[in-house]
Amino acid sequence: MTPETIYGATGIALFAIGLYHALVLPSALRRIVALNVASVGAGFVMVIAAWRPGGGADPVPHALVITGIVVLVAATAVALALVRALHDADTTETDDTP
C-alpha cells in the first residue's frame, strides 16, 4: 500500500459521494456543495497523477487542478447567486405585490 493507492481510492470515493449526493439531495444548495466534493475527488486523481515517490512532482497536473478549482468556484458563485435570486423571487411572489 502506498500513498498513491490510499489517496487514489479516496479521490474516487469522494467523486462517487459527490456524484450521488449531487443527484439525490433535496436542496439546490447542498447539490452545489456535493458538486464541489466531487470536483475535489477529480482533483485527487490529478494530484496523484503528478506525485512521484521520491519527490519532484509533475507541475502540469498541479496547474490543471488550480485552474479546475478557480473554474469551479466561479460556477459555484453563479449557482449560489441563482439560489439567492430564486429565494427573493419566491419571497416576493408570496407577498401581495401586484
Binding site: 502506498t2 493507492t5 443527484l23 512521484r52 515517490p53 521520491g54 519527490g55 519532484g56
Partner: protein, 581 residues
C-alpha cells in the same frame, strides 16, 4: 452555352423565376397573365432532337440534367397540358382573392413536374418530384372549403408516406449502385426491399389501388385548371419515376410483377365501382383516371415478370400515358366549359367539346384510345404465359368500365352542374379553347407519334368492328342504368329503403365504430404521454437517467475493462519512476 442546355435550365428555371417574381406585388398581375408561357421551354426542348447534357456539379449532391427520347415524350404531352391548363387558369383566377397563391403553387408544381423529366441523378429527380407533390397541396386546398381541407389532409398524408418510401428506396438503390446517376441505378442489381419501396412510392402518385385513396377527392376538390394538370400530367410523373429508376427489361422480379399485375386488375374494376357510386363529376373523372392507371400497372407488372417484354411495353405505356393525359386534361377543362355553358343556359352547347375526348377515352376507333389499347394488347401478349389471357380480357373489359364511367360522368354533370367563377361565365373561351386544343392534340398524336422514335403508331383502324363491343355494351348499360336509377328515385321508395336498409345499417354501424375508435385513440394518445410524464416526474427522470446511462455504459465497457484489469493485475507497481533530480 448552347441552346439546348439553356432550355434545359429554363424548364424548371422559368417557372421558378416566375414564382419568385410573384413575391413582388407590382409584378403579380403580369406574371399571372403569362402563366402558360412558363411551359414553353419544355415544349421547345421536346422538339429538339438531340439529348443535351447539362451537368451542375455544384447543385445539391451533383446535379446532372439532359433529355432522352422517353423524357421528351413525357415532357411533350405534359408541357402541352400545363400550357393549356395555365391558359385556362388565367381566366379562371380572374378576380379570385387567392389568385397569387394559386399561381405560385401552379408554377412550383410545373417546375417540379417538367423539370423531373430532365433529371439524370437521383437527388434532382427526388427533389423535383417532391417539389411537385408538395406544391400541389396548395392547388388541392385552394378552395379553402371544408371538403377541400379534408381532401388536402388525405392528400398530404399519402404524399408524405410516399415520399418517405421513395426516399428510403432511392437511398437504398443509390447505396447499392454506388452512384447517384439514374443510368447507373437502372443497370445495378436492385434489392427486393428497395424495389418494393420504390414501386409503392411511385404507385401513390399513379393512384394504383390500394394507394388511390387520396386521388378522387383531391381531383374533385381542386379548381378545374388544377384538376386538369393533376389528372393529366402529374399522375404520369409516377410512371416516369418508375421507368427512370427501376431496372425494367434487365431484372426479373416475378413477385413484384405479380403483385403489380394483381393490383392493376383490381384497380381497373374496383375504380369503376367507385366511380359509379360517386356523385361529383370531377370525382368520377378521378376514378376513371385510377381505372386507367390500372392498365399501366398491368404493363409494368408484365415487364417485371418477363423482362423481354419491356421493348414492347415501354412504347405502349408511353403512348397510353400521352393519350390519357391529353384526353383527361381536355375533359377536366371541358367540365369547366360545361359549367359556363350551363350558366349561360345552353348545357348542350358544351357537349360537342366533351364528345371527342370521351370517345377517345372509351377506345372508339379510329381515335387515339383504340390505338393505345391495341398497342398495349400486343405488348401484353409478350407477358407471362399464364397471365396473358387474363390481362387481355381485363384490357378489353376496361373499355366497358370506362364507358360506364363516362355515362356516370355525364349523368352527374347534368345533375350537379359544376360552379364556375364569374370570369369564366363571362368569357367561356378561357376554358373552352384550351380544352378544344388538348382534344385536337389528342387526334394529332396519331400523326406525330412516329416522330418520337418508338416505331409506328399501333393500328388505329380495326379489322373487325366487333372489337368495339365493350363500348356499345357500356353505352347500353349506362343508358339502362340511368333510366333504372331514375325510375327508382320516383318509384317505390319503400322497396328501395328496404333493399338498402342493411347497407345503411352496416354503414351507420361502421361509422359509429370508426368514430369511437378514433375518439379512443385520441384519448389514449393524450393520456399515455401525460401518464409517462407524471411517472417520469415522480421518479425523477433526470436523476434516474444518470443511473441508467452509467449502468448502460458500464455494462458495455465492463468486459473490456475486466480483461484489461486482469491483464495488468490490480495493485501493480507504478511505472518506472523518474530518477531524483
Amino acid at each position: 452555352m448552347p441552346l439546348p442546355q439553356i432550355l434545359i435550365a429554363l424548364v424548371p428555371g422559368l417557372p421558378l423565376a416566375m414564382a419568385a417574381l410573384l413575391a413582388f406585388a407590382p409584378a403579380r398581375a403580369a406574371v399571372r397573365a403569362v402563366l402558360p408561357l412558363a411551359a414553353l421551354p419544355a415544349l421547345a426542348l421536346t422538339l429538339l432532337p438531340d439529348s443535351a447534357l447539362l451537368a451542375e456539379p455544384w447543385l445539391m449532391l451533383g446535379g446532372q440534367f439532359g433529355t432522352d427520347p422517353v423524357g421528351r415524350v413525357f415532357m411533350g404531352f405534359s408541357a402541352l397540358i400545363w400550357a393549356a391548363a395555365g391558359w385556362a387558369a388565367v381566366g379562371w383566377m380572374r378576380g379570385d382573392d387567392h389568385a397569387t397563391g394559386f399561381a405560385a403553387c401552379f408554377l412550383l408544381a410545373m417546375a417540379g413536374n417538367l423539370g423531373m423529366f430532365t433529371a439524370r441523378d437521383v437527388a434532382s429527380l427526388y427533389a423535383l418530384f417532391a417539389l411537385m407533390s408538395f406544391a400541389s397541396y396548395g392547388l388541392v386546398v385552394h378552395g379553402r372549403s371544408g371538403s377541400a381541407f379534408a381532401a388536402g389532409r388525405i392528400y398530404i398524408v399519402f404524399v408524405v408516406a410516399g415520399e418517405l418510401a421513395l426516399f428510403a428506396g432511392l437511398a437504398l438503390m443509390a447505396a447499392n449502385a454506388g452512384s447517384l446517376m439514374l443510368a447507373d441505378l437502372r443497370a445495378a442489381p436492385v434489392s427486393d426491399i428497395a424495389a418494393g419501396l420504390l414501386l409503392a412510392g411511385f404507385a401513390v402518385k399513379l393512384g394504383i389501388m390500394p394507394l388511390h385513396v387520396w386521388l378522387p377527392p383531391a381531383h374533385g376538390a381542386a379548381p378545374v385548371p388544377a384538376s386538369a394538370v393533376l389528372s393529366g400530367a402529374m399522375i404520369k410523373a409516377g410512371l416516369f419515376g418508375m421507368i427512370a429508376v427501376m431496372p425494367f427489361g434487365v431484372a426479373e422480379m416475378p413477385v413484384h410483377g405479380t403483385v403489380l399485375m394483381a393490383a392493376g386488375l383490381v384497380t381497373i374494376f374496383a375504380a369503376g365501382l367507385g366511380g359509379v357510386n360517386s356523385d361529383s363529376p370531377k370525382a368520377v373523372l378521378g376514378w376513371s383516371s385510377v381505372s386507367q392507371m390500372g392498365l399501366m400497372a398491368l404493363g409494368l407488372g408484365a415487364a417485371l415478370t418477363v423482362p423481354g417484354a419491356w421493348a414492347l411495353v415501354l412504347p405502349a405505356l408511353m403512348f397510353q400515358a400521352a393519350h390519357h393525359g391529353l384526353a383527361k386534361g381536355a375533359l377536366f377543362l371541358g367540365t369547366g366549359a360545361f359549367g359556363a355553358a350551363a350558366a349561360l343556359r345552353g348545357s348542350w352547347a358544351a357537349l360537342p367539346l366533351l364528345a371527342l375526348p370521351m370517345a377517345a377515352l372509351v377506345g372508339l376507333a379510329p381515335l387515339s384510345g383504340y390505338a393505345a389499347k391495341e398497342g398495349l394488347r400486343a405488348a401484353l401478349a409478350a407477358g407471362p404465359a399464364g397471365w396473358v389471357p387474363w390481362l387481355v380480357l381485363a384490357l378489353t373489359l376496361s373499355g366497358l368500365v370506362t364507358t360506364l364511367l363516362m355515362g356516370r360522368y355525364l349523368l352527374t354533370l347534368w345533375r350537379q352542374v359544376p360552379t364556375v367563377p364569374r370570369a369564366v361565365v363571362e368569357g367561356p373561351g378561357w376554358v373552352a379553347l384550351p380544352a378544344a386544343t388538348l382534344a385536337a392534340c389528342g387526334v394529332l398524336l396519331l400523326g406525330l407519334w412516329p416522330l418520337a422514335g418508338f416505331g409506328p403508331v399501333p393500328s388505329s383502324w380495326p379489322k373487325d368492328w366487333l372489337t368495339q363491343w365493350p363500348v356499345a355494351a357500356g353505352v347500353v348499360l349506362s343508358v339502362a342504368g340511368a333510366i333504372w336509377g331514375h325510375a327508382q328515385r320516383v318509384g317505390p321508395l319503400v322497396l328501395l329503403a328496404q333493399v338498402m336498409a342493411p347497407w345503411h345499417a352496416a354503414e351507420a354501424y361502421g361509422q359509429h365504430k370508426v368514430r369511437m375508435t378514433q375518439r379512443a385513440a385520441r384519448r389514449l394518445a393524450r393520456a399515455i404521454p401525460a401518464h409517462i410524464d407524471a411517472v417520469a416526474a415522480r421518479w425523477r427522470l433526470g436523476q434516474a437517467a444518470m443511473a441508467a446511462v452509467l449502468v448502460a455504459l458500464l455494462a458495455v465497457e465492463a468486459p473490456a475493462l475486466f480483461s484489461q484489469i486482469a491483464e495488468h493485475a490490480p495493485f501493480a507497481a507504478a511505472g518506472p519512476d523518474l530518477p531524483q533530480p
